[in-house]
Amino acid sequence: MWDHFHHEADIGVLGRGSSREAAFEEAAVALTAVITELDTVRCRESVTIDCEAPDLELLFVDWLNALVYEIATRRMLFRRFSVGLDGTRLHATACGEPIEVARHQPAAEVKGATYTELEVCEDQPGEWRAQCVVDV
């Protein structure tokens, strides 16, 4: 399950799931939802992403920033994600399609994920939440 939360200048993305991986995946969906209506994005091509960071929270920000980079350089939007975490290493696939401005009407461009309101926690056993503010 994903959501957005309030930040005065920009917007927060939040993912919840039964595992850290699921929370990361849902937050990525929230990232796409900042840009466009989710149901306009089809799964046509896949991209793999690898990152590594000293702790889980920095890894979460790296994950979102890796997506931001792929969106910008491939000019794609992504809809479905499959994340694998091994300590503080992440390996993921993201599937989506090239941006079609007329159909996707991107509302904003995410510049980067920030450390503001950054949290990756297990709120209850089996209920993980990953969130941060993104600069648009």
Partner: protein, 476 residues
């Protein structure tokens, strides 16, 4: 923010007394109403910045201060390297050297009105805007390095502007100390398709009418008369700058421990100016400044091309180009001693006053133009830097009003079509690739920039010269 916990220095200056880890006081320049409307997060961030090593004089907040990333947006802080001062990627931001440039046209409203729609369409067609758009200039590695070294000066040499433009850009269009070799492959790759693009969100190109003149003498020097048409471009260093901000935020957050720096907020990640990380960041950040200056120069060239076709009698001359997300080395006299300081302005505009040696001759008597962008469909303002002796907050001023509501709330309240139609009824033409983007940027989603500018004027940060109202707005 609760003003009863602040020391009221004057109607427009409020002090957060040093306590805890603060090395200097916090100073907020704003009316009481603006301060009361500020989030408590602003206090927290001003206070956190005040605790950074080597900070000089105070941690400042401008009248438009709001919750940012480590630094408040509308934050100013200067550091002395000789006192262990730091440089912070969060104190500059993800959009390094985002800024505004304003062009004079020599046209009046009556010249624009008959061709307004054609002009809007032509600008929208010619200037790449929004996520998914592509610039028409694709630089190879050598070209990228030249651009990162040369900035707007590089762009003019390539034929995208005139030599006289450069005098009207901060740093004469080229930031010294840029180190393209510190700019990563990722950042270069992200910029490859983005040269000469406007970006998205609150970036725009606006054709505007001078609606009010407040300081006739300065307006004359600036070339402004009531009824004149000007053009303002608001954008920054695009993907390259964002990538540099992202990378150094991470490296500074990780290296802070190594340098013995405690971070109350990871977003305030910083490094000693005289460290490898600090110097590398400065080199990359200066290269990103050049990228922003080059970008606005190219967009100027594209805009001139459009006007040549539609209004060939126009002469688009650059008034000035200012940046509001930078860290620059500047000299100030503090307690009788000249000091070389690293001045961070995060969502704050430099406002050099009369007599400043770095200003072009034309602005030596008036002080520099300070260009304050409004949001889509609202007024923008041109101010001037004030008396050098009264240079407050290291000659800084505000940069625009912040958001009054979240994007989600704005999108719930308004539909893009409705916003476009309402503005059209007021004589303003909007062009954007995204209906939702227009809704999120609706005028009502932003705070009142007039109140911010009035406070900046009353506080003495800069003085009002002219007000601009939008006629055509191209946004991403």
């Amino acid at each position: 923010m609760d003003t009863s916990t602040l020391t009221r220095i004057s109607d427009y200056e409020w002090r957060i007394e040093p306590q805890g880890d603060m090395n200097v006081p916090g100073i907020i320049f704003a009316s009481q109403a603006l301060v009361e409307a500020m989030d408590e997060k602003v206090r927290e961030q001003v206070t956190n910045v005040a605790a950074l090593p080597g900070i000089v004089a105070a941690s400042y907040a401008m009248p438009d201060a709001h919750w940012g990333y480590g630094f408040p947006i509308g934050g100013v802080a200067a550091f002395d390297a000789d006192q262990g001062g730091v440089v912070s990627a969060g104190g500059v931001g993800f959009d390094i050297s985002c800024g505004v440039r304003t062009l004079l046209t020599g046209l009046q409203r009556t010249d624009i009105e008959p061709v307004k729609t054609r002009l809007a369409d032509a600008l929208f067609h010619s200037i790449p805007v929004g996520l998914g758009s592509t610039g028409n200039i694709h630089l190879d590695d050598k070209g990228m390095t030249a651009m990162l070294s040369g900035g707007a000066s590089w762009a003019v040499k390539r034929g995208w502007g005139y030599r006289e433009d450069l005098e009207r850009v901060e740093e004469q269009g080229c930031m010294t100390g840029a180190q393209p070799e510190q700019v990563s492959l990722h950042a270069r790759k992200r910029q490859r398709n983005e040269m000469g693009t406007l970006g998205s969100g609150n970036h725009y190109l606006e054709v505007q009418e001078v609606s009010d003149i407040y300081d006739p003498d300065t307006a004359t020097t600036f070339g402004l008369t009531r009824g004149d048409i000007v053009i303002s471009i608001h954008c920054g260093s695009r993907g390259l700058g964002h990538q540099i901000g992202t990378e150094f935020l991470k490296s500074m957050a990780i290296s802070a421990h190594h340098y013995g720096i405690r971070l109350p907020d990871r977003e305030l990640a910083n490094a000693p100016i005289d460290s490898d990380t600090g110097q590398t960041y400065l080199g990359a950040m200066r290269a990103a400044i050049n990228c922003a200056l080059a970008n606005r120069q190219i967009i100027t060239h594209l805009t001139r091309g459009v006007f040549e076709r539609i209004l060939p009698e126009a002469k688009l001359a650059l008034l000035y180009d200012v940046s509001h997300n930078t860290c620059k080395v500047e000299e100030y006299v503090i307690d009788g001693r000249p000091r070389r300081l690293y001045v961070h302005r995060k969502g704050a505009t430099r406002a050099f006053g009369p007599g400043h040696p770095d200003l072009p001759e034309v602005f030596r008597e008036t002080g520099q133009p300070v260009l304050i962008g409004g949001s889509m469909g609202t007024a923008s303002h041109i101010l001037a830097g004030n008396r050098e002796g009264g240079a407050l907050a290291f000659s800084s001023a505000c940069h625009g009003a912040g958001r009054a509501m979240s994007r989600r709330k704005a999108y719930k309240l308004w539909k893009g079509r409705q916003v476009t139609d309402n503005l059209h009824e007021q004589g303003i033409i909007i062009r954007s690739p995204s209906s939702r983007g227009v809704a999120e940027e609706a005028p009502g989603a932003y705070k009142d920039v007039n109140a911010v500018v009035d406070a900046a004027h009353a506080a003495g940060l800069a003085r009002k010269v002219a007000k601009l109202k939008p006629v055509v707005c191209i946004k991403g």
